[in-house]
Structures are given as C-alpha cells and as structure tokens.
Symmetry: C2
Subunit: 721 residues, 2 copies
C-alpha cells in the first residue's frame, strides 16, 4: 500500500516535459500568437486538431476543412463542432472583455437584462459593456446598472439616434428595424482605442463563460476581422420558395447574432466605405434588406471572404423554426450561446424548445442581486458609490437590535424604471400623476384603480425577478391594463426583510412626468371624478405658481369587502350616515386624519386651510418638485407622517378640497405587518428612527423644528398597513 | 485580404499531428489508463504537468511534488491548484456517474435537494444517486424524485437504520451524529458491482460539472482508492489550542466532504477490517471522534498513505471560520465545489461569504422544474410515468379553448412532503387531522389557525422554490408556528397558470396520519372547541367503524375584517342575530350550504342527517381513507362540490354536528380568481370538465349517477375563492 509508482511517474513526467518543450520550440512559446500567424483557415473553423485531442471521434478520422466555398452538404453538425480540438487559450485572468449591444425601447431593454444576467452568471473576467441605445433604453439601463452595482462591470452608452442617419437610407424589412442595422457602424461609433469587441443581439442567452468566446480572437489570421457562426437555416441558399431571392452570401451565409469584431482591422481596411459600396450595389437589384445588417455583412463577406473567421456553431445556436441547429447541439457536448432569432421567440417550433426555454427562464427569473459578486483576485474599481456603501455597512453593529432596520435603509435596490412600454403624457400645465407603490399581493387592485383614475400613473412595484415576470403576464392578460400606455410601472427588486416603503414612493415620485402628483396608496380608490377635479382645482388655485400648497384629498374607508362605490359626494355622505363608510381609521387611529376636519368638509363649498397637528398623514396633491419621502422609514410606521411634517416645515399650506375623496378598501393584513406586529423591538427601533429624524429636521429647519418635538415623542401610531 | 496562410497552417497542423502521435506512442493511446499506471503522486496532487500547459505560472517554474508527508509549509494555495495542468479527460458523453449521499431527517433532506439542484444545473451526464437514508428522508426524497421526473437521473435508496449497528459502537462528538460515520461502510453497503462512486456531504454546492470531478478517477494509480482534498484548517496539525489532541493525519489531513471512492479496490484491500482496526486502536487513547468519519479516514490514510489520491483544492473549498480556503480560491481561476462545513453554515465568518452565499442561494431558490431537461444525444430510460405523460401531453390540441385546463390537469408537480421538522401524532383511535391547502398570500392565516386548532394538521402549500424559502423564514420567525411540531407542511411546487386546488388537497389528505380528517379551507377558523368536540363525536358516533358517514361542520362568514371570534354556539347565534355573522355565502350562493339546514342547527341538540342536494359543499370530517378529490378541477369552481357528490354516490351519510362551527374570514380576491373571473372561456371549460366528471361518475356508479345529472347541467356556481 506504500507509494511505489514514483520512478515510473517521474519518467512519465519527463516525457510530458519533453513534449511540452517540443511544443514551445515549434510554436515559439506563444501558442495563441502562433496560431494567429498561421493564418488562413487550416482545419475546421475554430477547430484545430491539437496534439492532445481529448475527443477523437469514434471513427478516428480528422474532420475536413470548412466548406467555406458554400458546399451545401456541409451542415453545421459536420464541421462546426466545439469539441474537436483543445480549447483555445483563455484570456488572462483579469483581462477586460468588451461587449457591444444595440438596444432600443422598453421590451429590448428587458431582453438585454436577461442576456446580461446570463453573461454575468458564467463570467470570470471584468467586462465593459458598450450599449448603443435610444433615449428610452438609456433611461432604463442607466438607472438599472447604476443601482445594480455589479463589481467589475463598466457600462458606456452611445446615442443611437445620432447614428440613425448613417443607416436610415437602407430600405429594410426586418423586425429589428433601423437599430438592427446599427451594428454596421460600430467600428466608427465605438472609441478608436477599442480594438476587439464581441457584438451581441439582445435575444441571445449565454450558457457558458464569455471568455471562451473572447479566446477565439486568438484564432484569427493576420487579416481576419469578423468572427461569425454559419447560418443554421437554408435562407441564403435561396431555395426556400419560388423566386426567393436572398442577398448574396458564402454558402449558407453567416448569422450576425454573435460577432467577434476586430475593430482595428476593419477601420484599417476601410470598412465604412466597404459595406456602403456593397450595400448600394446590391440595392440596385434588391428592394431592401430582409435580415437587416446580416444581409449586408454577408454580401461584404462574399466579396471579401478573407475577412471572416468562422466560429464553432455552439456559439450561436439559432432557434428559428426549421433551423439546422439540432445538428449542432446534438453532436456538441456543450451549448455555449442560444439565439432566439425567430420573431416568435419562445413560441418557436423546435422539438427541444422546452430545454432551451428552461435555460432562458433560468436567467429571466434569476435574482440579479446574486450577481453582485466580486471577482476574486481581479482588483477592479468598485462601482460608483459602492465603497461608501461598504464602509457604511461595515460600520453597522450586528448586535444593535435595530440592525435589520439600518441595513435595510442602506440597501441599494436594483431599479428597472418603465418595465413595460409607456408613453409619457403630452405636456399639459395642470396635469397630475397618481403616485403609489405596491407588491405582488396588491396586483388585483390595478384594474379597479385604472377604472377610477383615467390619468397618468407612476407606480413602484416591489418584486423579485420571478415576480416581475408574473406581473408581466398579469398585465398582458388584462385588457384593461394592457390598453393603458399612460401607467408607468417601475420595478424595484426585493432585497432584505423590511418593506422599503418610502424608497418605493420616491422611485415612483421621481418618475412622475407631469407638473403635479397625487401621493396615494394602492389600497385606495379615488372618486371617479377626482382626476378632472384635481386638474381644475390646481388651475383655479394656482398651485405651485401662486400658492405653495398641498391639496388634501379626504380619506374614507369601508370595512366591507363587497362595496358599491359612491359616484358623488352626496352618495358618499349618505353611505357615511348609514355606517357603510367611515372616515379613514376612524376606529383605531382617528388622529391620522382628524385635522382634515370631516365635519367642515361635509358642508364645505370651497377649499379651506387646515393646520398641521401631530400624526397627521393626509393624502395630498403637490407639485412634482415636492420634498422626497424620508427613506429611513422602512417597514411599517411613520413613513407618511414624516413626509407631512417635512411639507409643513417647508411651509406648504394644507388646503382641503371640498369635492375630493378617496376610499380605502379592506384587505387581509400583509405578511410584513403580521411579522412585525408581534415584534417588541420593532416599536423601539421605530422610536429610534423618529429621534434621528427629528435631529435631521432640527439641522435643516433650526428652531422651527421644535414645533414637531412633542409629536415625535408621543406614543407612536399603530403599525400601518 | 484573401486567405494566404494555408501552407503555413498545414505545416502547423502536421506538427500538431506529430505531437499527437508521439503522445499516443508514449502513452499507449489511453492517456487516462496510462496515468493510472504511472502510479504514485508524480507532480502536484491532481496536477499533472502535461505536454500543453495553458497556464504556465508567470515565473515559469514547475511546482514541486505534494507535501504529503505533512510539510506544514505547503498550504492549499501552494500545490492544490486546479489550473496547473491540462484538464483530465472528461468521461465519455453518456457515461453514467454514481454519487452516494448519506441523509437523515427533515433538514438534511432540504440540504440534499439544494445540492442535487446545483449538481443537475451543470451536469451533462446521466447520474445514479445512491441515497443512504433514514425513514424520514426516504419518505421525503422518494416522493420528491418520483414527482420531479428529471430525465437521466436514477435514484436508489439504502436503509441507514440497518447500517447503524456497524458504526454505533464508535463514540462521536461531531454534529453530523451517527449518520456522518456511515460513509465508512459504503463499500459494503453499496452494490458489489459498483466500482467507482463520488461521495458527498449534504452541505456541499456544485459550481461546475460533476463529470470533471469524476474524470479525476483517471489520475488514480493502480493502488490508490480514495480521492480527497486536503483539509483547509489547521485542525489536524494539533496546535489550535493547548492540549488539542486531534486524530492522527498526514500533514493537515484530508476533508471527507467530497470523496472519490474506488469501491472495488477498497473491498479488495479489506477496507472493512482496515478502518475498524485503526478506529479501535485509536479509541484506546482517544475518547471519541471529533469529526466523525473524517477522523477515521485520516487515521487509516496516515497508516496507508498509498491509498489516497489528493485532489485539487477547488473540489472542496471549505468554508469553516478561519480556514485557509481563500488561498485556494483566490489563486484558482475556478471554484468547483463549495463546502459549508461549519456548524454555522451560512453564518460562517469568511470575508467572501457574500460571494459564496449568493452561489448557495442561487440553487436554494432555483426553480427545480427547469432542471427537467433532457440530455441531448444520451438515450436514457425516461423516469417512471414520463412516457405516458409525454404521450398524453402530445395528444392535447393547442387550439382547444380549454387547452390550459387540460395541460394543468396533466402537470406533475414536484412534491416535498414534511418540508419542516414534524413529529407524527401518537396513534390515537379517534384523532383527527385538519387538512387544507394554501399559497403564499394566505400565510398570515397560519398563526390564527394554530390558535384555533390545537390538533395535528396536514397543509399543502403551493409555492415556488424561492417562496418555499420565504415560508421557512416566516415559520422560524413565528414562536407560535415554530413551536408546533404536529403541523406537517407539504410543499407542492408551482407550475402552470391554474391553481391545482384538488391536487393540493389530495397531497395534504394523503399525508394525514390520523384515522380521521377534517377537510377544511385555509380562510376558515374553526371554533376553539372543535378539535376536542370532533374527537368526542367520532367516538360517540362510531364513525368509520359502525357508521359510514361524513360529519358536517356548519360554515359561517364575517364580512368585517376586524372581528371578535365567538367562544360558543350561543355567542355565535347572538352575532348571527345582530348581523355581524352570516351563514356562509348567504348573500351570493346560499345553495352551497342550504342543505345543512341552519334553522334546524340552531335548535339541534344531537347530530342530524341531511340529504345531498345540487351544489352542496359542506366542510366535513371523514375517515382518512375517504375518496380523493377529483384532480381535473383546477383553477376555481366545482372542486369541493364534486367531492361531496362522490361521497354521496359512495353512500356516505351526511350528519350535521350540533355544536360544531367554522367561520370564514374576509380577504381580497386572490390573483388567480381575478384573472379568471373576466374570462368567458373559463365558464365553458368548467362546464366541459363537469360533463366529463359525470361521464366518469356514470362509469363507476351506473344508473345511480343519474341522480346527479340535473345538478351538473345547472348553471354553475360562481367562481369560488
């Protein structure tokens, strides 16, 4: 049982060393460089028979060279395998990899995030994303990456609208529109010092480490500049139907969903002129591009075949209907990148579509917070704000009974604004946006809310990544909701045990685009007439311009969960009189709305001014530039009260509107509130937050803040729902 | 721009071929076998300097041989790197890999599932899991794998209780208890034809393809039989504290969280005797094992060092406090297996713990349904039932308006019974279990339910994997719920758009362990006295034994969401009289409970018999072997009605209990019901289901089923919540 293999092992090691040295002598010690120098397309595309071939096929034959001359018999399964040679050398551990993506609009922005999640899941290198975006996508993605704070990911934006003129002259029939064509102008649009870049369509999903793809740059000859996977459909063969006239291509052509670009070489080779000349010439006989940039790339390559380095098929497994992709992935041991390149996307007909869909869903529903993981041993600049955040978190004391509160306050939530297509309301001087926040358990309020509020809304939703997809399906299934383009949904991703109610309100408030906002809660349904009435009142009172005021919308509640909504103040008062309605929190916390003075409201014909009092928390209409909610109030309690204190401290008049009302509907207590009602530390922590709030208030408002001190030291309001 | 590298490339290819041939000549064409024959421990452990070394370290030196003789200066970072040689040959594409895991109890069963999810996520080979389990784990895991239906995964169970006697003589202080020691007896416990197996602790997480680990078997010499990663703590160096006396080990010893076992060789070498002799001898001077099997493995290896093949450290990155693991993973480019080998598990102190926790959470929350993916090109026997299921699904017509219903009916949900620790109730002849089902939005009912029902409960929860973790935290945070060991929670994993209400009820019903069940709904709170009263009534009436009956518990409802629960029938009747309570669905669907005859119940002093009538759906108490719910009713509507029809058809008497009552609490309509109330096809599909139900009823009960025909053709009840 004692080791007895040492001499033999030493001999083997010596032989291995000999082989290694031989390799070094023959290849000059840098195999990657040597390969580049070898040039041409020796062996199969991206498929070099190496000295150690771990997967010699059963019949032992070496595969023949690539059928780049268009041999139609050579399907992707025949020569595009990834497992036919040693893996190319990986990029060095901390090498920065560059990725360019063109992205426009709300839906593509969601797609890009799924793509990026899959990329980040497997990556081990720092990444620099170059995003060519329209204004919508930039707004979404800038906020998203800013709040995502992924270490070792840099993001640069390029204005797609400025590039439009360079491609808009090309007639195009492809669903990707003008933006698809923009991949053609990347060599000039990206910074001149950028030499290598991987270009991706928004509809690809990674199933492997992107550095393996980057490593394929090492296979380029001295003159090759574009790495592409062969097309996996018969499109460019031109025999799909009678009079099918595709653009010219080598053999079955190449797919441009995944491209390795040597930008330096393309610039040197006069790419700008090259593709334009080719496109202009082809457009003399062809009416338009059918497949956008891909037609033009293929036409250029047909003319200059030396530019292209074919890549193994697994790097772009194309899931159109009837593609030949199966011949690729069923032979390969691995799938590297899946490309949903059918307009039908996940509905594509492919007998393994379940497999691919599962892969896609994995990243669609993956908790993006989990990707905030550092790269070991790659020193990289932390994302903006990350260092301060780390320091603040490090200073927290885990033994502090309010540790959970403090940690939650510091949590930076990923924010995806305008998650769904949204049309900003046309600018109107007295328009008002309803602002509210919710989580999954209140989705069923949305339809009713839409019926009660015909104006713009800005809603923050606190969701997990998986719930965001359920939410998407919920909206799509509702004709009422799907028809409303003036409701903006902003997803704030869940993290931590406490509900960040005021952070959510601030997200929704910041995204409101009208000059005025109605700060509501999701369990309230406004009077049917409220939207029109508020706009008229704002105009009449000169809110914001002549008068610094907050308009109070009196709040009521029903305890019955079946309830017929009053159509007027008269009807409301009748319900109030028979006890079918109450003023809000009449039974358990009348202080919250007492200053509204419901008795006066009954009779009022004109707006009337009321004074702030302790614990007042009315629903108000204010100009959009009103103070933000204090994000320290997480969980339940004092979150709205503090905001009204701030309004009062800033000398907003409180004006009650005589015809306005909103009604709270009953619901089961939320999970969060059940969890914390029983916690004794909860109340202590809330008092600590209130004390700190008052300290800040004194700092900002000086002696004027003294007014609020007794209110802050009173027994606090019951935990709110 | 034309290819000009061909001749040079051909030359390079020829040289590569030469190297390849040289390799073949020297190593006999089978590098794996040859390596085995080389024996000993040439090069670093698991770290063979190959002919092509893609990652020659910057200083170019070859690392020295492993410090197996216990050189304390050789930390894991020094020689345990994974990137110091070519990857070993992978197992062939469809090779079956064997994995053994010892698992006992509820909590370990959850851990095993997370481990298996991580393994399945990356695997590309068929797997055979050999699970050594106690009765609890077997019950859980057998059901789980049966319903998971993962292609190309076989599972065998071995009875841990039968193995106990082989290890129970060893005094042991480790938290893994007796079960940890069972890894020692695997060579005799596993089938004799099994030669290779990977043995895993339940607290490891894969971050890579297990076939890469399996491939390391090829590195074993002729005599090596145990592949292990060096321990990453100083434990076995014996200098942690004064009088620290660890078991003997080579150097810092080995960790047994991940083991490659050559079972064939161990059996040949007389392992059974070997480890017992060593353990007995050491126990003469040592009081007990501190680290269970690991102490004994190390002591045996110290005596027979030729047995061990050291594995690269990345295959068992050990996250105890103060381990040296960082030296391993910060140098390695890859992490392969993470081992949470501290009793603190996720709370372990490690400066990168966030990174590791994110990895763990990825699989903890990963939707296990997405792992039901086939292995391309590896023909494997489908899981039991999978073929019939595929056929049934294939026969569905996507154009059928009820397609969603039919697909949902056929969906096999993953089921994790007794998700949390549970103690079966002691056998009592008249005991009764409350049976119900719920989803996340009703969790807040559980505490109240526990206060109202002091007896055993069997609850099915319809959750995603991520929600199951939220649920776990919810229970742990509630002293009321955490204290109840007689409530069994069975997680049924979500899949598909319709709520599988009757499938859930059947899961909860099948898991009830008392002779009687109270079939309730989660929104009902039973009278405080109901549990005792039901047991007395069951005994008195001779339910099941003398009398085939269903005992009816009259149902009431409150429309107020703040409500003081009546403590007696008298109090309940008083509330009914003042309109604070109603009989259940009095306003919108009185037919559902009219046959209970509330007027008679008011006065009743003794149980009375009532007759079935159309749409009757009372809450009943029945023997556990009662008919199951019809799983075709998914979504909302007719699900309980059909069950009562079946009870009546099987001639169960319906006996109303005079002192029993249960009260429905109000809640917002669930998301599912909101989604479908608006759908016009919903009602049509429900009618189609009812028609089919009646056809089946006629088949089973013949002419007797005619009685129910008019009821089935009536306008159906409103969709239920």
């Amino acid at each position: 049982m004692l080791p007895r293999g040492r001499p033999r092992a030493l001999g083997a090691a010596a032989l291995l060393l000999l082989l290694l040295l031989l390799g070094f002598l023959l290849f000059g010690g840098d195999l990657g460089c040597e390969r580049r120098k070898r040039g041409g397309r020796a062996g199969a595309p991206g498929c070099f028979p190496g000295p150690l071939m771990p997967r010699v096929p059963p019949d032992g034959r070496l595969r023949r060279a690539a059928a780049l001359d268009g041999d139609p018999g050579a399907g992707p399964g025949d020569h595009n395998r990834s497992d036919c040679g040693p893996p190319p050398p990986r990029p060095s551990k901390c090498e920065l990899l560059h990725v360019a993506i063109v992205c426009a609009g709300h839906n593509s922005s969601r797609d890009v995030i799924t793509l990026v999640k899959s990329m980040l899941f497997y990556r081990k290198n720092p990444l620099h994303l170059h995003l060519v975006t329209d204004a919508v996508a930039r707004n979404i993605l800038e906020m998203l990456f800013h709040t995502w704070m992924v270490p070792a990911v840099r993001v640069s934006f390029y204005n797609a609208d400025e590039l439009k003129s360079q491609v808009s002259w090309i007639p195009n029939k492809h669903y990707s529109g003008l933006y698809g064509l923009m991949k053609l102008v990347l060599p000039s649009a990206l910074p001149t010092e950028l030499a290598h870049v991987i270009v991706l369509d928004t509809d690809v999903t990674f199933a492997s480490d992107i550095s393996e793809l980057w490593a394929l740059f090492a296979h380029f000859s001295d003159t090759q500049a574009i790495g592409l996977v062969e097309n996996q459909s018969d499109w460019y063969l031109g025999n799909l139907w009678k009079n099918h006239r595709p653009w010219p291509a080598l053999g079955r052509g190449f797919n441009t969903g995944v491209i390795l670009l040597r930008l330096d070489r393309l610039r040197q080779a006069g790419w700008e002129q090259m593709w334009r000349l080719t496109a202009r010439r082809e457009l003399l006989t062809l009416p338009a591009t059918s497949l956008a940039d891909q037609d033009i790339f293929n036409a250029v390559i047909k003319e200059h075949p030396g530019l292209v380095q074919p890549l193994p098929c697994v790097w772009n497994v194309q899931l159109s209907d009837h593609t030949l992709a199966e011949r690729c992935y069923s032979v390969a041991s691995d799938l590297k990148v899946i490309h949903w390149n059918s307009p039908k996307k996940l509905q594509v007909k492919n007998k393994h579509v379940e497999f691919f869909r599962n892969f896609y869903l994995t990243f669609l529903e993956y908790d993006g917070n989990l990707l905030r993981r550092e790269l070991f041993g790659c020193p990289s600049q932390p994302p903006p704000g990350a260092e301060q955040l780390q320091q603040a978190l490090a200073q927290l004391n885990e033994e502090d009974p309010c540790f959970e509160f403090r940690q939650q306050q510091l949590t930076v939530h990923r924010v995806h604004v305008t998650f769904l297509p949204h049309e900003p309301p046309p600018p109107r001087p007295h328009d008002v946006t309803l602002v509210a926040q919710l989580s999954m358990d209140r989705l069923q309020m949305l339809e009713a809310l839409c019926r009660h509020w015909p104006g713009p809304m800005s809603l923050a939703l606190y969701l997990t990544d998986a719930e965001a997809q359920q939410f998407l399906r919920f909206i799509e299934a509702s004709p009422v909701l799907a028809a409303r383009q003036d409701v903006a949904y902003h997803v704030v991703y869940r993290e931590g045990p406490l509900y960040p109610v005021n952070q959510l309100r601030n997200v929704a408030l910041a995204q409101a685009l009208t000059p005025y906002v109605f700060l509501s809660d999701i369990d309230f349904l406004p009077a049917y007439s409220l939207y029109d009435y508020l706009r008229a009142s704002i105009e009449q009172l000169g809110l914001g311009s002549q008068r610094k005021a907050a308009l109070v919308v009196p709040a009521f509640e029903t305890l019955h969960y079946r309830f017929s909504f009053p159509h007027s103040k008269v009807e409301l008062l009748a319900l109030l009189d028979v006890g079918a309605l109450y003023t809000f929190r009449y039974h358990e916390w009348p202080r919250g709305h007492a200053p509204t003075d419901y008795a006066r409201w009954r009779e009022a014909q004109a707006p009337y001014r009321v004074q702030w009092a302790a614990d007042y928390e009315p629903y108000v209409v204010v100009p959009r530039d009103c103070p933000r909610y204090d994000p320290r109030f997480v969980g339940f309690g004092w979150n709205k009260v503090a905001h009204i204190v701030e309004l009062d401290a800033q000398e907003y008049e409180l004006l009650v509107l005589p015809e306005a009302f909103t009604i709270h509907l009953p619901h089961a207590p939320s999970l969060d509130i059940s969890r914390f009602r029983s916690s004794p530390t909860y109340r202590d922590c809330l008092q600590a937050l209130k004390d700190e709030f008052h300290q800040d208030l004194s700092r900002h408002h000086g002696a004027a803040a003294l007014k609020y001190l007794p209110a802050l030291q009173q027994p606090q309001s019951p935990a709110r729902d």
